[in-house]
């Protein structure tokens, strides 16, 4: 039977029409592709608009189209839109094909004539393919309503609470001994100057006591298998050496522990903890952890002070890591960020000159629960600084490190300036490239700082040094900076320097992305499905990203994304079942020779070997439609629906014929 194909060429405003002669392309398709079955070709300003879609539906109904090709943007953007339009008009959605003449033509081609030719070749390819496409019916699988949230910072907490409050079960996995994340380390939050712990700890408490949340701290996800609706996740719960059933969190163990260790994680190296510890008093859960690498018993075989004094006998030095598997239908990644390592900019003297602090170290110094009880003092532990310089953009907006803006540092630096001013009355110098305060209440906070008398110097700091040139600089840290507003080099002697370090992706973001089957950007932030319209979904169905693991973000944005990801997950759970890939592989048993090459090539163990028949067989529900088996099969017995050899070869021939015909025309 000859197919009746309709071709629709989108202008996309001027996005396509500005470079591709859309009227010519549509006229050409109607005339030159008739032999392939094209009965109508139209161009329209916005095919994705409701009027554009109605155009297709009307033609399907009135002209009896059996195949549809839309030449517009990337199928990653609008394939679902047009498939739905076809389905509404009663045409199987798999009888639709898209030619990408925007992202892969009009936006990347300078020459208009060439762009028009390329559009024709791409449309000919799509038409060549579409006539061989077959109707497919989607498979539906039930959704496991349980959800995995990875990361117990403010984003993960918000996501977990939203889901748990709706009545669904959540597994919240956190690498550290307590949830809370970076927010638990902060002193105040901008621009309202709420105490960070005061707004965070009630939420942490809710998580710890929620009947629908299984909290797995000191744990990491080891393996993820399955697909949307049906993931099997393997989690390693590291040994705490504490029996959680017996521990009451009374704190006797860490009082009695004789071993002090510098706390590089929670206190950012500013304070010490014991070898058995909870990171901070409000930790959730309340159970401590024995630090295996520093505990005297594990190092020398003697001590056991904690065990002797524990009133409930909860210390268990024999405890082993536990591996568990859980079944979930959806996953939210909220793994957060790492702070830029200020050692990488030796010109700022971090770790070399005393009283040069990173932003996180200052947060701990300023925090009332921190090592100095919130007193802002120099390294000697007593003297308050009389002057402080705050260096913005340390490791961000700098091609040598990270080209991007870390988005929170301006506001964070303004907050630091305010706190220093309020607590010590010191002179504060903020050295900035640009001040960026775009969110609600942020600009007002900046204005407030200007009125408070903070000195703002527009210039990137060249160096922080202790080599004095004049008597006033003796014993001080000297900040060398060009004040670009007056065009002069300045040397500012100060007592303390705070480096507003960049936010970076987690050091192991790449491995985590691979584990969950999602992608990272060049800066190793997780990539969302669409930067504007789908900011928390990923290209892997059922895996969502939220918060700073997707890019630098402040707390309000993280909370919003955590809740957004929860809403997306709940909407999937609410559907009860989900449509999965209809383009699966199928074996032609008449030609299969039973060589089992396909069985070993399948990444999903979706192909079984039927020993009695001596043939391979595809388990449809497990097949993800990659087609690796097809590339392996020697007698060509396996084919992948919707990507058959016939379809791909016809698509290739469609493009080749047009390209060759243009060449011949030029030669003639």
């Amino acid at each position: 039977m000859t197919e009746k194909v309709g071709v629709y060429v989108c202008h996309c405003g001027s996005n396509i029409a500005g470079t591709v002669d859309v009227a010519d392309v549509s006229k050409w398709a109607a005339e030159e592709l008739q032999h392939l079955g094209v009965v109508v070709a139209r161009d329209y300003k916005f095919m994705c608009s409701s009027l554009g879609q109605e155009l297709i539906e009307k033609d399907i109904n009135e002209l009896g189209l059996t195949r549809v090709v839309v030449a517009s943007c990337s199928p990653h953007l609008h394939e679902p839109t047009f498939r739905n339009a076809c389905a509404r008009a009663g045409l199987n959605p798999y009888l639709f094909e898209m030619a990408n003449i925007r992202e892969q033509d009009s936006w990347v081609t300078t020459d208009k004539v060439e762009a028009t030719k390329k559009a024709k070749a791409l449309i000919a390819a799509a038409v060549g393919r579409v006539v061989h496409q077959q109707p497919l019916n989607s498979l539906f699988v039930p959704i496991d309503p349980n959800v995995l949230v990875v990361g117990g910072g403010i984003t993960g907490i918000q996501a977990a609470l939203e889901i748990a409050n709706s009545g669904q079960k959540v597994y919240l996995v956190e690498r550290e001994p307590s949830i809370g994340g970076h927010m638990a380390q902060f002193d105040k939050t901008f621009p309202t100057l709420d105490c960070s712990a005061c707004i965070l700890t009630p939420k942490m408490f809710d998580v710890g006591n929620h009947k629908n949340i299984t909290l797995l701290t000191w744990s990491e996800v080891e393996k993820v298998e399955g697909y949307i609706g049906n993931f099997t996740v393997t989690i390693r719960i590291r040994a705490r050496f504490i029996d959680q059933g017996l521990c009451t969190g009374c704190g006797v163990c860490w009082e009695k522990c004789p071993k002090k260790v510098v706390d590089d994680v929670f206190e950012a190296g500013m304070g010490k903890r014991k070898a058995v510890y909870t990171p901070f008093p409000q930790a959730v859960p309340k159970y401590p952890v024995i630090d295996h690498d520093n505990c005297t018993y594990f190092l020398k075989g003697t001590c056991k002070a904690c065990q002797k004094f524990c009133p409930t006998g909860a210390i268990n030095f024999e405890q082993q890591d536990e591996i568990i598997t859980v079944k979930v239908g959806n996953i939210i990644l909220a793994t957060g960020f790492d702070l830029f390592d200020a050692h990488r900019m030796p010109q700022y003297g971090y770790d070399r000159l005393p009283n040069v602090l990173t932003s996180l170290e200052f947060e701990r110094l300023s925090n009332a629960a921190g090592p100095t009880g919130g007193k802002l003092v120099l390294k000697d532990g007593v003297t308050a600084p009389k002057s402080v310089a705050i260096v913005h953009c340390v490791g961000s907006r700098d091609k040598n490190y990270n080209a991007y803006c870390s988005s929170i540092c301006c506001m964070q630096s303004l907050k630091f300036a305010h706190l220093v001013h309020e607590k010590t009355g010191a002179e504060v110098y903020n050295c900035y490239i640009d001040i960026r305060t775009p969110a609600k209440g942020y600009e007002e906070f900046y204005q407030r700082l200007l009125e408070e008398g903070t000195h703002f110097i527009r210039g990137k700091v060249a160096e922080v040094t202790n080599s004095a040139r004049i008597p006033e600089e003796e014993g001080k840290l000297i900040v060398q900076v060009e004040d670009t507003l007056i065009g002069k080099q300045r040397r500012i002697p100060v007592d303390m320097v705070i480096l507003s370090a960049a936010l970076e992706s987690r050091h192991d973001a790449k491995q985590v992305a691979q584990k969950f089957g999602i992608s990272c950007s060049a800066d190793e932030w997780f990539i969302e499905r669409h930067p504007k319209l789908d900011p928390v979904a990923t290209m892997t169905d059922g895996v969502f990203v939220a918060g700073a693991c997707q890019g630098p973000k402040d707390i309000p944005a993280c909370v919003a994304q955590g809740a957004a990801a929860a809403a997306r997950v709940l909407s999937i759970i609410g559907q009860g079942e989900i449509e999965i890939e209809a383009a699966t592989a199928i074996v032609d048993e008449t030609t299969c020779v039973g060589c089992t090459q396909c069985v070993s090539s399948c990444p999903y163990q979706a192909i079984e070997f039927l020993t009695d028949m001596g043939k391979a067989h595809v388990i449809e529900a497990l097949c993800k439609g990659c087609g690796t088996c097809v590339g392996t099969c020697l007698p060509k017995s396996i084919s992948l629906k919707h990507f058959t050899d016939e379809q791909l070869v016809s698509e290739m021939i469609g493009a080749m014929q047009v390209m060759k015909s243009f060449q011949l025309m030029e030669v003639a």
């Binding site: 892969q104 936006w107 990444p603 990659c626 690796t628 990507f643 070869v649 080749m656 060759k660």
Partner: protein, 135 residues
């Protein structure tokens, strides 16, 4: 002047999105490569590449996810093993193996994609038209 005709087989998840990323960044590159989307580079059978040459393509480009990044976890391992063998086969059949290029482009690598296309197009342009070499 001779304009080479090139077919690019791109995996849907990394390289095709990398090509889209080049578009979103408005990176310009020559129009000679026509892209065919496949779910995974592992779908690209040697026969498909050979068939493309038989239709007179001057070059064939196979792009997939970086090793370790495959949407189907290990589909591209097959590509990495298969394509070098195919290149040997091309040489045996008298087709310059330089006409087939395998590379890895992630969804974030729009710039790399445009460079791969530019370089490959230039490389193929420097060779004689494929059909002439087969006479």
């Amino acid at each position: 002047m001779y304009e080479p005709s090139i077919i690019g087989f791109l995996c849907n998840w990394c390289s095709y999105r990398g090509a889209d990323a080049a578009g979103m960044a408005r990176l310009k590159y020559p129009p000679n490569v026509k892209i065919i989307r496949v779910p995974c580079s592992g779908r690209i059978s040697p026969e498909l590449v050979l068939r493309t040459f038989r239709e007179g393509a001057d070059g064939v480009l196979v792009l997939g996810c970086h090793i370790g990044d495959c949407h189907y976890s290990t589909g591209n391992h097959r590509t990495a093993k298969r394509m070098p063998v195919l290149k040997k086969l091309l040489e045996y059949t008298g087709i310059d193996p330089e006409r087939l290029v395998i590379n890895w482009v992630s969804a974030a690598e729009g710039e790399k994609f445009s460079i791969v296309i530019k370089d490959f197009t230039e490389k193929i342009r420097a060779l004689p038209p494929f059909v002439e070499t087969m006479k």
